[in-house]
Amino acid sequence: MKVSRSPWILHYDASSCNGCDIEVLACLTPLYDVERFGVINTGNPKHADILLVTGSVNEQNRPVLQQLYDQMPNPKVVVAVGICATSGGIFAECYNILGGIDKVLPVDLYVMGCAARPEAIIDGVVKAVALLDQKSAQLKKTKKNRKEAR
């Protein structure tokens, strides 16, 4: 059974203006209905496979973001949604903004837009799902190697 068959998403609003967040939620509405692909919006890092982050990271939420990422079991993928999550966007020069999510976490995918359109987010999730399968295969390989080494 492929991991990509049931990608569960954890959505975190770093310091977004809520534009991208509304678009993320729009993906779950009847119009886009990502549950067609088995996607569930779980609020729980321990159940999640994909971490969707909107907004740029600042000193206040850096430890929170790190904590959420650490609590997610492997394999996991991080998707930065929107231009703020990608590079800091128009907030990049603000005194408290560290920049994009990749300043704190290893981001796998960047979804462009301000706000990112639902189509773009779904596209990002589909790519994330493919990556999830790759990472899952990798994890299996490392586990096997570790067993053999023992």
């Binding site: 059974m1 067609r36 569930i40 919006n41 321990k46 492997n74």
Partner: protein
């Protein structure tokens, strides 16, 4: 060649053990699809619950306290055991006590970690068990008064179904089924959607294989509960058997409708409500039954 009683018992046990989780998982898939349709969405594939469990099995199992894995295993074993007693045609009282015991181990598994969500979920699960226990016990007593036996295989052999004598008990049992299926408005211990007040409540701290095991245990439990609905209609009369199968699926559908039309309530409403229904419908039914007979 007619099957002996023992062969039928072992056959139904094997069917339960092997096919049980598949049937319940498939029903869960149907449930999610119907739910989606009610909300104007397309919904996930019918086999989605199996994809979910398959995925969870492949994920890393992050555990904070290792006794959690132990308790989850015991929960699964007791859930299977509970159904096994039922489908072997044994004592209904034993089934009920084993069911409670299984639930207690799930509560323990959620309680061994220091997560507020998980602990609130565990507390609420205990409250839910407190709420549904009277109705479940009355069910067993109702079966005894109606058929003269606590044994499932004896109840199955009765000439007229128990429902004719115990309609009130049936109402009380169906009322608490919403708690047992963990459906809204009574899904206090584990909110169905993870982004709500207590995240996932009792299952918040389970990850990977542990969560998959909890899910499988819940499938076994679902089959047992559906079996108990059917038992109300079980008799040697084929028409009643057919009505029983139909009603079992109908009630499952009604549960989905209720799930989609009610918001979650506070715990006193659940406890007082289910005790009132158990008293008004169940107890009254039993009192009448014992005075008449």
């Amino acid at each position: 060649m007619a099957l002996t009683e023992l062969e039928i018992k072992i056959g139904s046990l094997l069917l339960y053990l092997i096919l049980g989780p598949f049937v319940a998982g498939f029903l869960n898939g149907v449930d999610r699809r119907i739910t989606a349709r009610m909300q104007g969405r397309v919904g996930p594939p019918l086999l989605q619950p199996f994809y979910d469990v398959g995925k969870l099995w492949k994920k890393e199992t992050a555990v904070i306290n290792h006794s959690q894995t132990f308790f989850v295993m015991i929960y699964l074993i007791f859930s299977i055991f509970t159904g096994a007693i039922f489908f072997l045609g044994s004592d209904l009282l034993l089934v009920i006590f084993a069911l409670t015991l299984a639930g207690i181990f799930l509560v323990l598994a959620a309680n061994v970690v220091n997560s507020p969500y998980s602990i609130i979920g565990a507390d609420r699960e205990l409250l839910m068990m407190f709420a549904d226990e009277p109705a479940i016990l009355l069910t067993a007593v109702g079966f005894y008064l109606a058929t003269g036996s606590f044994t499932v295989s004896e109840i199955m052999k009765s000439a007229s179904p128990a429902i004719l004598m115990t309609p009130g008990v049936f109402i009380a049992f169906v009322y608490i089924l919403t708690i047992k299926f963990r459906k809204s408005p009574f899904d206090l211990s584990t909110s169905h959607h993870g982004h709500q007040e207590i995240v996932k409540g009792i299952t918040t701290e389970f990850a990977g294989r542990n969560l998959a095991l909890v899910e499988i245990a819940h499938w076994y439990e679902t089959i047992l509960l559906l079996g108990m609905i059917f038992l109300f209609f079980a008799s040697t009369n084929l028409i009643w058997v057919l009505i029983g199968i139909g009603t079992t699926f109908l009630i499952y559908f009604v549960e989905i409708v209720i799930d989609n039309t009610f918001a979650r309530v506070k715990w006193p409403v659940v406890v007082i409500g289910s005790w009132l229904v158990a008293a008004a419908a169940g107890m009254l039914n039993l009192l009448l039954l014992s005075t008449l007979s």
